[in-house]
Symmetry: C2
Subunit: 211 residues, 2 copies
Amino acid sequence: MQAAATLKKTKETIIREDRIDEAAIDQLFREARTHNGWQARPVSDELLREVVDLAKMGPTSANASPLRVVFVRTPEGKERLKPALSPGNVEKTMAAPVTAIIGHDLAFYELLPRLFPHADARAWFVGNEPFIEATAVRNGTLQGAYFILAARALGLDCGPMSGFDNAQVDAEFFAGTTIKSNFLVNLGYGDPAKLFPRSPRLDADEIARFV
Amino acid sequence: MQAAATLKKTKETIIREDRIDEAAIDQLFREARTHNGWQARPVSDELLREVVDLAKMGPTSANASPLRVVFVRTPEGKERLKPALSPGNVEKTMAAPVTAIIGHDLAFYELLPRLFPHADARAWFVGNEPFIEATAVRNGTLQGAYFILAARALGLDCGPMSGFDNAQVDAEFFAGTTIKSNFLVNLGYGDPAKLFPRSPRLDADEIARFV
């Protein structure tokens, strides 16, 4: 019995050295919620820049880094966004301190001589539109998820949404560019009183199998 | 001067209450690296299941939860994966303790009566193939990024890759299902000696603008 207890303690100690602390795991994953109502507390541009500076550190294919973000946080900006939103997303988005438009630049590969200097990665993409599109969408979306978790790491709450007219947002915010919108994220400090009950998740064994 | 100092201290105190601790932010974002070499230290199925149980908590559109994962961690499994890999990804993948195939189920909407019980979300998707595909890819990719950061939170290192033949992996691992592969993630405890120097990132102001 004593040997088993010692082994268990040692195993726990090893695990705890590697893991981030449990409160951080709760804040990022287990207790984080998608918010629909917001406290009056403002969000500084400095903090939003820090979210970007963390999110950009996450891995992308060939360091392609296609993520582009517009932080909409003025009443004028919100009015430009409003006509593109699905009806169910209007009220909460207008009320959020900030709405981030998560987009990706289809011309990301033009920056690869700087971002991936040890190979001619630009040449892998030029003229291959399906590969450009797939790489921009996959990696821009990965970076959008890093963005959500970076915001949570810095104490912000998120309300991500894909219910809006992408073409309308692109025309309004990305006209004359090679940037396309992907999804939106309301940002601020959530009002717990306006949370819906958490929806159920699949069991790990329904998601994953081992071979 | 004293008033300014007090204000600054108060602001820092408020920020620190909200943020996860700096060591955790380093482990997740600032100091995490894409690994190509691996320590001999094994990875338990229990820990891999815990990665999935954290990743699944991240937000998806209508709680669609399309992520499906195959953990390849036997020599036999690795041999099935090997022919689909780009030449530059073979050696590190064969050496990794585990390779996760990150996929998404195009039939995710059949589970929505259970996952999103408060509305008939299944009806939004049935028969609308482009919407099914876009939702599965976007949310499966978001969940793939949550998976990477969940693995890092639990002390694992990651080596994500998109350099492989998706159709070949689908035929080998997902035949007769509605699941499609998206990308791969090598998992284990990285060997710092085999790291490449970190590639540069864009400045926050190149990624984001404010309106």
